[in-house]
């Protein structure tokens, strides 16, 4: 298990993606999966950066575990910001015409669709969101 703690802002997303890609490299992760994980990191860390502490500043921790059987990765996002369970957000209506569409909830919707498992808990003052992707 490896972890990284950085400022919870959008500038950190690149470093988090790089950190996760480093763990994936020796695992023969398919490109499509790697991109789905990059998008998930962008959405989940981006949400922390944009909402968890604003207008204050804070930190976030990303923890990575890899598994062999089945081969996969587990990424956990931890912040001490405002308690918020993104899994409770209303799913966007993807059938609406352009002029009625909104972006809210789309990020977590995409993460739910592409990851194999996603769980949330609030514990000891921390939001803890975990995604699992097997490949």
């Amino acid at each position: 298990m490896k972890e990284i703690t950085l400022p919870a802002n959008t500038d950190s997303i690149e470093a988090v993606t790089h950190f996760v890609n480093e763990q994936l490299e020796p695992m023969s992760c398919p490109e499509r999966t790697r991109i789905q994980l990059s998008v998930a990191i962008d959405e989940l860390f981006g949400n922390i950066a944009n909402y968890a502490y604003v207008p204050e500043e804070g930190q976030a921790t990303v923890r990575v575990e890899t598994e062999d059987n089945p081969r996969g990765i587990i990424i956990t996002f931890i912040d001490s910001g405002t308690p918020y369970n993104p899994l409770e957000a209303k799913e966007p209506d993807t059938t609406l015409p352009a002029r009625q569409r909104r972006i809210g909830g789309l990020g977590i919707f995409m993460v739910k669709k592409t990851m194999d498992d996603i769980t949330y808990e609030y514990k000891d003052g921390q939001n803890i969101l975990t995604v699992r992707k097997n490949f």
Binding site: E14, D42, F109
Partner: protein
């Protein structure tokens, strides 16, 4: 972010490079605004875009809404399979003109 702009009459072609995500989309949006003045057709050429996240979708949606409102058009071209997958799962494939 590297972005190429090309104007042909009232048609603007925008060709960004890299990712259209949370970090890069605000800059792309900001740099597009002055180029959009007086244009009634926009082509987003995504040949050099690796993938999009909801930040990129927001940009495309707002552009589509803007062009619909003014009676103009938006066309998205050269999308790779990863982008198509995102557009499909979010229903954007039905509301954007994709070639």
């Amino acid at each position: 972010m590297t972005i190429a702009f090309e104007k042909n009459g009232t048609t603007l072609t925008v060709k960004p490079e890299g990712r259209m995500d949370t970090a890069t989309s605000p800059e792309l949006n900001q740099r597009m605004q002055p180029e959009l003045q007086g244009m009634n057709a926009v082509i987003m050429d995504l040949e050099k875009v690796d993938y999009v996240s909801s930040g990129g979708l927001r940009l495309l949606l707002e552009l589509e809404q803007r062009m619909e409102e003014c009676g103009g058009s938006l066309k998205i071209i050269h999308v790779n399979s990863y982008i198509i997958e995102v557009l499909d799962m979010t229903g954007f494939i039905d509301i954007l003109h994709i070639e």
